[in-house]
Symmetry: D2
Subunit: 181 residues, 4 copies
């Protein structure tokens, strides 16, 4: 890892070979249609997320941290209402082991956000959720991210197979076709 | 993208080729020393971050979202105090265009967290910050993440070169050697 | 101020003469119908507030702090959409100078909350908002609170008269009858 | 409750007889020394609270909601470290039934805040905490607030006497003299 003179120089960090993290895929000042941005029909589960006053930060838009709070709310609400997850006393819980987000355009309180959720991978004890957030009326995602849950025993915190009702609920959201490259 | 029967099956998602996102690098139930976990001496800038009551979620540990709030606070405090960033009226501001975190072990209010910051890449208009969080007395990171800022003109939101004082401050944190693979 | 042997002993704190703050008006373990709890028809403006995962704290219910975030979101959304408040560049902004909440029953993610807003007092430069939060299907409020805004000039931060469109919007929500004692 | 033509007109709301909630006690634009503002020596327990980036809202200062998050963190940290409260599995927990804050001057990330805590009333099953927040170097409080906990059985959520170690810890912070009127 060394000082780069230009952000377009390829990264050598093994953690992120395919994306040059110092080279944003989208120019934040160019909100034109972006062929690589996800669209709503890539996501079988869609919900509306109202923003809150405190979501905006001092720069006047929803803070990057808050996008992950939206993701958490969308994922867990789906697990609870569709998969029967009991967050208070159930034997199996989902812990986040990795997450990522790419921010393409600003979102701003008081707008309502259209959100989409799909399942990128459904393992025996883990799940990769893929999400996107859209301003209403905009075809291209303002942000896209993913979150990996490992399901564990509540007491021992050791990995445990996904309960059947959760697996069934998540299977319905598995993306059938890969997103466009 | 298709239903995987086992999380160890390689991912095909072009966004994350090198890491299998549904195969967590660390077993969350096995907090033994992990050769791949970052250590404090990988990070030239180190600060202590007190946790808050509301950082913990219903599962009793700091929620994954809050790690990104720690990152934002650490980065911006450094930019302000060491680089002279004026978040209220300065002409150039830093916007997050991408972020990532890997969660290895839990952190829990009321502990104080040791945090480290280094610069992974320093471009003309963008910066990749790399951070790690440690429980006090633990050599291995509880979590590691990165955040990419693009610096933009406050009014036009078009990319703008890093101001010299910020570049100087960040240059001091550029990692000289690659982290261990 | 001195050590009380029983919370029913009247408070002498001049800041809160009418309510004995160490004597909660309602037993948190007795969620029976409470004649003093506000009802929906006390509040002319009503909205639904979805909860988020991180609203719950380690005790499994929405944290007390988050109620105030709901209040802020409800108030500001109303000021923006009904009163034309421009939070980004408008000349007049509303600053909170005092707030209060009484918590009667728990609220819990993932429930959707019914919220009500009325105006308790509408001054020349200040406004007292009164709010209540209800679990869906419950007649009695789970919580009631109030927030006082002083409107100020954005630059000087000196009190400024409420802009006419905001005054008109708020006048529509002024409570015509006092709430039951 | 009726439309007031002037905020100085006395309130008739039975919930707040002593303070006119639409008449802020302090002019937010006049940060001169205020005889009624609490001072540090009114509070026997004092801690430093670092601010975070996201504490600031779009108006450039710490959002009012966040003050209550500071209160929660200060109170619970004291209960845990000084009173032995076990928030994960202990039989008795403290629930907030009422809270209040008066905001006198702005606080702003990245400043570190001096905070003070005292006990206003210590009942058999409930406690009134009184807190103040100060900018470093400022004698007068930027904000003052109070929070009432009722201690309850974790399972039944019925009021329960304060455990002895917690009572002992809180007794040390009981204010011996009343604050100035």
């Amino acid at each position: 890892m060394h000082l780069m003179t230009d952000p377009a120089t390829p990264a050598t960090d093994p953690a992120t070979p395919a994306t040059d993290p110092a080279t944003p895929a989208t120019d934040p000042a160019t909100p034109a249609t972006d062929a690589s941005a996800p669209r709503r029909d890539h996501y079988p589960h869609r919900v509306v997320v109202p923003t809150r006053w405190l979501d905006n930060d001092v720069y006047g838009h929803v803070n990057n941290v808050v996008y992950y709070a939206y993701f958490d709310a969308i994922i867990n609400r789906y697990l609870i209402t569709e998969g029967g997850l009991d967050i208070a006393t159930g034997p199996i819980i989902g812990l986040v082991v990795e997450s990522h987000c790419r921010f393409r355009r600003p979102l701003t309180f008081p707008e309502d956000i259209d959100a989409g959720l799909r399942i990128g991978k459904l393992g025996r004890t883990s799940v990769r959720y893929e999400l996107a957030l859209f301003s209403q009326g905009e075809p291209d995602a303002a942000a896209e991210g993913w979150v990996v849950h490992v399901f564990v025993d509540r007491q021992t915190r050791r990995p445990a197979p996904l309960p059947d009702p959760i697996r069934a609920a998540l299977t319905r959201l598995v993306a059938l076709a890969p997103p466009q490259p």
